[in-house]
C-alpha cells in the first residue's frame, strides 16, 4: 500500500469515560443500542440482538425522506461473544424478513452484495474503557473477515517491501 494507513479493514480506537460493562451494553441491549446507532434524524424501530455465538442480529433503520419514512433492514450473525470484552458479528443488507439477497440474484441498483464483519474489542482501563472497532468486508462464503483483512494487510506490506521480511 502506498499509504501506510491504508488497510483493507477500517479500524477506529476510542476511549470512553465509562466502565466496560456499560459500553458492552451499548452494543448488546436493544434499548441502549437504539439510542446511538442510527444516523442523526433516524429511528431504530427494530433491534433484535440475540447476543450469543450463532445468534441472529436483525436491525431496522428508519430514515425520513421526502417520500415518507424509508426503512432499511440489516441482518447478521454473532460470531464471537465474550462478555464485556469482545463482540464479533456479520452484517448484510436484508429484506424485512431478514432474507439476504444472494449475489447470484440480479443486483438491484441499491443492493450491496458484500457482507461486512464488525469486531468490537473492549479493554477495561479502570473506570474508563478503550474500544477498538474493526469493520471489514467479506464475501458471504468467507469465514472470519477480519482475520482475513489483517492477513491481507501483511500481504500488502510484503508487496511494498519484499526484501524486508
Amino acid at each position: 500500500m502506498t499509504d501506510e494507513n491504508a488497510s483493507p479493514a477500517l479500524v477506529i480506537e476510542r476511549i470512553f469515560d465509562a466502565p466496560a460493562g456499560l459500553i458492552w451494553q451499548m452494543w448488546t441491549r436493544p434499548e441502549h443500542f437504539k439510542s446511538w446507532y442510527g444516523p442523526e434524524g433516524a429511528a431504530i424501530p427494530v433491534a433484535k440482538l440475540d447476543v450469543r455465538v450463532g445468534g441472529t442480529r436483525f436491525v431496522c433503520l428508519e430514515m425520513p425522506s421526502p417520500h415518507g419514512p424509508m426503512r432499511m433492514w440489516f441482518t447478521g450473525e454473532y460470531k464471537e461473544v465474550v462478555d464485556n470484552q469482545r463482540l464479533v458479528y456479520t452484517e448484510s443488507i436484508s429484506d424485512e424478513h431478514g432474507n439476504i439477497p444472494t449475489t447470484s440474484d440480479t443486483p438491484a441498483p441499491d443492493s450491496h452484495p458484500i457482507t461486512t464483519e464488525v469486531r468490537v474489542e473492549l479493554q477495561d482501563l479502570g473506570g474508563r474503557t478503550k474500544m477498538v472497532l474493526t469493520h471489514a468486508g467479506i464475501p458471504e462464503d468467507s469465514p472470519g473477515a477480519i482475520g482475513w483483512a489483517m492477513a491481507l494487510d501483511k500481504l500488502a506490506a510484503h508487496a511494498e517491501a519484499p526484501d524486508v521480511r
Binding site: M1, I12, D17, W36, H135
Partner: protein, 120 residues
C-alpha cells in the same frame, strides 16, 4: 460513495480473495513473481486447478502475467487491495458519528445515575 461498477469490481476482488489457496498464491507472489509451475508446487493440486485459481486472480486484477510465451510469469498487482482500503475508509465518518453519539449517550446515563460509579 462508489459507483455500481466500482462496487462490482470490489465484490469481484472480495470474491477472488475468499479462498485460502488464492490468498496463499498472492502471499507467494508478494515475495516474488513466479511461474504457474512454481506456484503449484506447495499445493497438492493439478496444474489446471492452479491455473483456474490464477485466472480468477487475474480477472480481479490482483495478478498480472508476463507475455513471454513459455513461462508467462505471474506477478502481484496490489492496486485492488488499495481499492478495498478506500472502500473500508468510507465507513469511517459513519462510525465516528455513531461513536460520538454513543459517548454523548453514555455521559447522559452516567449523569442520571451518578452513584453507579465512584468518580467522574
Amino acid at each position: 460513495m462508489p459507483t455500481a461498477t466500482q462496487e462490482d469490481r470490489l465484490s469481484e476482488t472480495f470474491a477472488a480473495l475468499a479462498n485460502s489457496t488464492r490468498r496463499a498464491i498472492l502471499a507467494h507472489l508478494a515475495k516474488s513473481a513466479a511461474s504457474v509451475n512454481e506456484l503449484a508446487e506447495p499445493f497438492e493440486m493439478t496444474l489446471p486447478a492452479i491455473s483456474k485459481h490464477i485466472k480468477v486472480l487475474e480477472r480481479a486484477g490482483l495478478v498480472i502475467r508476463g507475455q513471454q510465451a513459455q513461462f508467462r510469469p505471474c506477478a502481484l498487482d496490489a492496486a485492488p487491495l488499495e481499492e478495498i482500503a478506500t472502500w473500508a475508509e468510507q465507513y469511517r465518518p459513519v462510525w465516528e458519528s455513531r461513536l460520538d453519539r454513543m459517548d454523548e449517550y453514555v455521559r447522559q446515563l452516567l449523569e442520571a445515575q451518578p452513584r453507579e460509579r465512584g468518580t467522574r
